[in-house]
């Protein structure tokens, strides 16, 4: 129907003088945007299929291609924007729920960008990280201040399950299935080299990657895909996934076409069958049930591994986190409303949940008020975009951060937000062998190592500038933050002062 026609949002512009008809763009585009017309010796494009992933533009040897936003628009309207109108057309046509990928792209405030950091001047010295040790090592897990001594009065170190991280960043949960084998390999090898951890997500752990077990957090989600004794035993820690920031309150759905070969075996789901994660865990309908699952997993692994509980940042987050802290969990992972995903209903992604900065601040404050902050570590996610975000999160009270989207960007993702199609031209969010092989794990892992090495340098510079030489002295050090352009209410929730105060 004519009314369903939507003029493409992006146009492929090709400079005919530059184009040498090498047809690289045609071969590289899984969306089949580019076609060669032999009779005219010309390349043409179907802009409608273009997702603006830049694969063709980056690989064009003569830089003949660029993707531009189409100037074709609806009549300007401050209320009915292009997005609102086209979504109506889509739903009027399909009768279905709209799907999207990656994190909430809408114009909500980013509180990280409204907080500024402190530095030393005169009254105490800044510290040069190139000259003095600058420590970013963190431990995750509960702490106890009870002490024991032997008969000679010497301290006996009390052993608590913990994870040791060389810096306060980890790779967050992305399942094998939602991302490719090569992406997983890159994450696992980078985690090992960096002395941090990556997270399997809910898709099980491919047996090739058991060798990275000591740098692996395995996830137990509502679908229990790929969960078995060896899976738990191999890992350094276990994460119970209650929710994720991109889609709080709902489950997951990996379509049957992605359940092929190794993905099927790893998930323990028959080939071609949809893998559906229920919205709740059907053995957790309340907080006391969570405690049972925490302890079941601890029992199953003989109390040798920390148990994480991952939740999405929702309105009542402080009370929920307090409940989890009392449930025996060692680490609470909180995922903000900007958190990414391989596929989520658009309405959920764009409208449910709260910003991670506010969630983190209120959880940290609440746990301190209740005197139970030491019982758990806090890991935050969704979305951490730079070392400055990590730094501000730690200053607000986080022990560490998870990064997902940032890691995928390092691997080549161009944030075209169409993971749900499974045709990722960068070999990340796809299971098509011809596409997967485009991501070379030897290069991919090195880029991840580079990224976090760079971030760690930056974290050390920022620490040194404020005269802090160990990351634990930054944790919860909110005096190092000042707000700009925030209301008193926002400042109160963040527990910070305004710039100039």
């Amino acid at each position: 129907m004519a009314i369903e026609f939507m003029y493409p949002e992006y146009e492929v512009l090709r400079d005919p003088d530059r184009c040498i008809r090498c047809r690289v763009c045609e071969r590289q585009c899984a969306n089949e945007v580019h076609t060669y017309l032999p009779e005219k010796d010309r390349m043409i494009s179907d802009d409608l299929k273009c997702v603006n992933c830049h694969r063709c533009a980056t690989l064009c040897p003569t830089r003949a291609i660029k993707i531009v936003k189409s100037p074709h628009t609806f009549k300007e309207n401050a209320n009915w924007g292009q997005k609102e109108i086209t979504e109506i057309y889509k739903q009027a046509s399909s009768g279905g729920v709209l799907l999207s990928s990656m994190g909430n792209p809408e114009k909500y405030p980013v509180y990280f960008d409204k907080m500024l950091l402190n530095a030393s001047q005169v009254t105490n010295p800044s510290i040069d990280p190139l000259r003095e040790p600058m420590e970013t090592r963190v431990f995750l897990g509960g702490k106890t201040h009870e002490i024991k001594r032997d008969e000679n009065g010497r301290l006996i170190p009390i052993k608590r399950v913990k994870l040791e991280l060389s810096m306060p960043v980890m790779f967050s949960a992305m399942s094998y299935g939602s991302i490719s084998y090569n992406a997983h390999e890159s994450l696992a090898r980078a985690a090992r080299e960096l002395g941090i951890f990556y997270n399997t997500g809910e898709g099980g752990l491919h047996e090739d990657f058991y060798q990275y077990g000591s740098n692996t957090i395995v996830q137990v989600a509502s679908g229990r895909f790929g969960v078995h004794k060896k899976y738990l035993d191999t890992a350094a820690a276990i994460e119970i996934k209650i929710g994720q920031g991109a889609k709080p309150g709902i489950g997951g759905h990996l379509p049957g076409e992605k359940i092929v070969g190794d993905v099927s075996r790893t998930r323990m789901v028959p080939e071609g069958a949809d893998a559906i994660s229920p919205a709740p865990h059907h053995d957790i309908y309340s907080i006391e049930d969570l405690r049972q699952l925490v302890y079941s997993l601890k029992e199953a692994t003989n109390y040798t591994k920390p148990v994480f509980v991952k939740i999405a940042a929702v309105h009542n987050i402080a009370a929920i986190a307090s409940g989890i802290a009392r449930s025996g969990a060692d680490v609470i992972a909180i995922d903000g409303f900007r958190g990414g995903t391989g596929a989520a209903p658009t309405r959920i992604r764009d409208n449910v949940g709260i910003p991670i900065e506010l969630a983190l601040a209120s959880v940290d404050t609440r746990l301190r008020e209740e005197g139970i902050r030491d019982r758990v570590s806090l890991v935050v996610a969704g979305s951490i975009r730079s070392s400055a975000d990590v730094f501000k999160a730690v200053a607000l009270g986080a022990d560490a951060c998870y990064i997902g989207t940032a890691a995928l960007l390092a691997l080549g993702c161009h944030l075209c937000r169409t993971c749900q199609t499974g045709r990722c031209n960068w070999g990340i969010a796809t299971q098509r062998p011809d596409l997967v092989k485009r991501l070379n794990p030897d290069l991919g892992y090195q880029r991840l190592v580079n990224l976090l090495t760079a971030w760690n340098h930056e974290i050390k510079e920022l620490m040194g500038g404020m005269g802090i030489n160990s990351i634990e002295s930054l944790k919860g050090n909110r005096l190092m933050l000042r707000g700009v352009g925030l209301t008193q209410k926002e400042l109160d929730i963040l527990g910070i002062k305004h710039a100039g105060e």
Partner: protein, 368 residues
Amino acid sequence: MNDTVIEGQVRIPSGCAISGIFSRSGKRFSGESIIRSIEVMHDRSNGLGGGFAGYGIYPEYKDYYAFHIFYDTLKAKRDCEEFLERHFDIINLSKIPTTKVKEITNEPLIWRYFVLPLPTKLSESQLTEEEFVVKSVFRINTDIEGAYIFSSGKNMGVFKAVGFPEDVGRFYRLDEYEGYCFTAHGRYPTNTPGWWGGAHPFALLDYSIVHNGEISSYDANRRAIEMYGYKCTLQTDTEVITYIFDYLHRKVGLTLGEIASVVAAPFWQTIGQMDAPERERHEYLRNMFASQLITGPFSILVGFSGGLMALNDRLKLRSMVVGQKDDMVYMASEESAIRIIEPDLDWIRSPRGGEAVIVTLDKNASEV
């Protein structure tokens, strides 16, 4: 109080001078020498705060808590005394003797009480005696406007004011006190007229701290220690350091040496070179007490019953030297502050960053 913003309403960084004298044999000496010592470092203060702590100065009341209290108003005094009478047995009370010194002005009412918790109140509270005292001190300092307890230990006392430390010493007639240990502090705050309560030493029970530095970990330390029932009402570094020591020493039960390994922890690099048991112990302390690590420049003297401890930050970003002559141990920001009172030292040295120097009374020290 007038309209000026005081400690507790604003966080005020300050530089400083510190000095301490300790007699291992427990021999009591006059407070005069500590005044001379701190006076040498006059330029390290700016006249906005000075103070002293003396140990062994109240032998006749050594079993009682000595509360030194500033009152802004007579009403504050009445309210506070009413509270004290309800909760404590007051054995003695008096004004703290002072001399008019032209440099010291705007003095509050300064009173001293020797007290013990009332047995009935104490048993009702289900607290230890010390915890009862701490809670009472916090309550008065936060709830009774214009009353401020700045010293609450046994057989020790803090004397402090706005002014240069040598003037403060003469104001309090410190030369008339005798003790086995004295510490002193001259303050260089950066932006305030100063408040008497904000001067140092800062004390809780018999712990007293004089501190030179500005710690960068302040808010991390503050927010952590406030979880354990402390209230950082002054927003000063010294206050939070005192609470950390009180918490780790009295409540958790760490030794002072272990506390040094927590607050001025060795670097991971150094820990990695230790032999296995030592390495495990340090790793354990750093992990479990991560929020009590103090970063940024500090040199502190921690006075406690029967001992004195000196500690620098892990990078030694503030000067501090320790010297000895016979049974006397001297600790100060500058060597000159020691030489002025004891030119002929057995030895003098500069402790490394994070190295705790702890002196205690000899076993056969005279009864104090």
